[in-house]
């Protein structure tokens, strides 16, 4: 610090008179959500996970006959719902778990605990950021898919069921993301979240049809959050299903379990 940078007390006299007060909740949540969003955009690995990998899978698997898909769907019609499910998982689960795990490690959550932003406010900010990012991901994936020849076969009810499935999936993934981030060391969270991402990519019905798995395994895989989300979205967007009740219930149960466990076991520092 040079002399010019050092403030003389005379310059600051009278400026520090106390005038405390919390800002309105909405302003606090919005400010925190914007910071969370910027942090995501600054982080190359997270962007790769959230956008580059889903798009590469969409493009590569739709252009080349790498695998044969079940259910009588065209390649792109099968892939698009699965890739949307993957994108939701990458944002709500993997990215959120890793980001929050390191925030906990660096004491960021602890420091925020001393500000007027409540824990509820912080969760609201994180959720807002996740939803905005998911909307952006979905928009980009849909545009690319349409370009690749995607034609959804959906009933009008999809206007309600797709957001419902995505919201329930987001709630389930967020609950488990916070459970990991709030209980494990940051490095362990990083490893676990990435491992689960890769495993779910394989067995979550994202690009490989669950009909190709052994008959015994399939019902179990459809009960995993990723399997339920990809199957539900596929039934609605490619199969014209009106209400995929089983997948909605499955995701709701995961959401309740994940959030309850996170609320019980999350450690802020």
């Amino acid at each position: 610090m040079t002399a010019a940078e050092t403030a003389a007390p005379a310059e600051v006299a009278g400026r520090f008179a106390p005038a405390p007060g919390a800002a309105p909740m909405r302003r606090m949540v919005a400010a925190q959500a914007v910071l969370e969003g910027k942090t995501l955009l600054r982080n190359g690995e997270q962007l790769t996970l959230m956008l580059v990998i889903p798009l590469l899978l969409l493009i590569a698997f739709s252009l080349e006959p790498l695998v044969s898909f079940g259910g009588g769907y065209t390649r792109i019609d099968f892939l698009t719902p699965g890739v949307i499910a993957l994108a939701v998982m990458s944002t709500a689960f993997t990215s959120q778990a890793i980001g929050t795990g390191f925030e906990r490690r660096y004491g960021v959550l602890k420091r925020l605990g001393a500000t007027p932003l409540s824990r509820t406010g912080l969760i609201a900010a994180k959720t807002s950021t996740v939803i905005v990012v998911e909307l952006a991901q979905a928009a980009i994936i849909v545009v690319v898919a349409l370009f690749l020849g995607w034609s959804p076969h959906a009933s009008p009810a999809a206007i309600v069921t797709v957001p419902l499935l995505v919201l329930l999936g987001t709630a389930a993934f967020s609950g488990f993301a916070l459970l990991l981030a709030g209980t494990l060391r940051a490095e362990a969270t990083l490893a676990a979240a990435n491992l689960i991402y890769v495993v779910m990519l394989g067995v979550g019905g994202v690009v490989f049809s669950l009909t190709k798995f052994p008959a015994d395994a399939r019902p179990l895989l459809e009960l995993l959050p990723t399997g339920a989300l990809s199957t539900g979205l596929r039934d609605v967007l490619a199969g014209g299903a009106v209400f995929p009740a089983k997948d909605v219930v499955t995701l709701a149960v995961w959401a309740i379990a994940g959030i309850a466990l996170a609320a019980r076991f999350f450690r802020w520092e």
Binding site: P20, A31, N43, G107, R111
Partner: protein, 298 residues
């Protein structure tokens, strides 16, 4: 207040009062319970026993009411590593009703040139200054500063002292912990020394250090301090530590002219010329070491 971690009692029946509008310094060796005490007051931990009131409120039960009124500077970290300094300060300003202008405050702590630098690329002292700015952005009534000048260069330390002095002048109450005795001596109205989770001394710096009760001089090593002592008025003590440095202490009183005369007369008889002869009060560091011992803490 009592706070235990498993079998370890970190804070063991500690009682202290920090008055509004004053700077209170909490001193103590590592592990004395300073940070635990502050973190209970900040609402991060619940005390196992005792009553804690901050601005008249319970830091745990009334946390939502207290948070806007209290600024906190943690001992380290708490700021996201990738976020630029100005952006972080702006974020915190959005949490408050009438915050300081983040650009102005950044200038006050000398970080205007680093406004766009991510936290992780700031130097240790710059990180501390950003953390200090973050503690006061919301115009708090009370700030907790846990080792605010650790890692700062002398310029930054003096600027921080000026800032704390300015906060106090404007009526902000300050509670700080520090290992720098000079810092506590200069800044605080009230010093609390704690050790092993208990208060061992409590008062103004002047009260703790007492009035002028020491005479120091330098001379050739190996003078006979027993002989010197016998020449001095009763109630004095004389020792050589380290070699060639002599210290005469007067317990329960001041150095009187007669003592000075006795010391110089004793030296003159032996043809010794004392140099660097000073009459002074004990420093806070003397008091601190006397109360908490000189052995190293684990």
């Amino acid at each position: 207040m009592v706070k235990r971690y498993g079998n370890l009692t970190a804070v063991d029946g500690l009682t202290l009062t920090a008055r509004r509008g004053e700077v209170t310094a909490i001193l103590g060796p590592n592990g004395a319970g300073k940070t635990t005490t502050i973190e209970v007051c900040e609402g991060y931990r619940n005390a196992d026993a005792g009553i804690v009131r901050v601005l008249g409120l319970d830091p745990a039960a009334d946390a939502a009411a207290l948070r806007p009124r209290v600024g906190v500077m943690l001992q380290s970290g708490g700021i996201p590593p990738g976020v630029p300094a100005a952006e972080y300060l702006t974020l915190l300003s959005r949490f408050h009703e009438k915050p300081h202008d983040p650009a102005w405050l950044l200038d006050i702590v000398g970080l205007t040139g680093s406004a766009r630098t991510p936290y992780k690329r700031l130097s240790g002292g710059q990180q501390q200054r950003l953390s200090l700015a973050a503690a006061i952005i919301g115009r708090p009534e009370l700030v907790f500063l846990d080792e605010p000048t650790a890692g700062m260069d002398p310029q930054a330390r003096h600027a921080t002292w000026d800032l704390i002095t300015a906060l106090r002048a404007d009526g902000v109450s300050v509670i700080l912990t520090t290992h720098f005795m000079e810092e506590a001596e200069r800044l605080s109205d009230h010093v609390v020394i704690i050790d092993a989770g208990q208060v061992v001394a409590d008062g103004s710096p002047v009260k703790l250090t007492g009035s002028a009760g020491q005479l120091r001089f330098r001379a050739e090593p190996g003078l006979d301090t027993d002989s010197l002592l016998s020449a001095l008025p009763a109630g004095s003590a004389a020792k050589e530590s380290p070699a060639g440095h002599y210290l005469i202490e007067v317990h329960e009183g001041n150095v009187e002219p007669a003592l000075l005369a006795a010391v110089t007369a004793w030296c003159a008889e032996r043809g010794v010329l004392p140099s660097s002869l000073r009459i002074e009060s004990r420093t806070l560091e003397d008091v601190f070491l006397e109360l908490t011992g000189k052995e190293l803490r684990a």
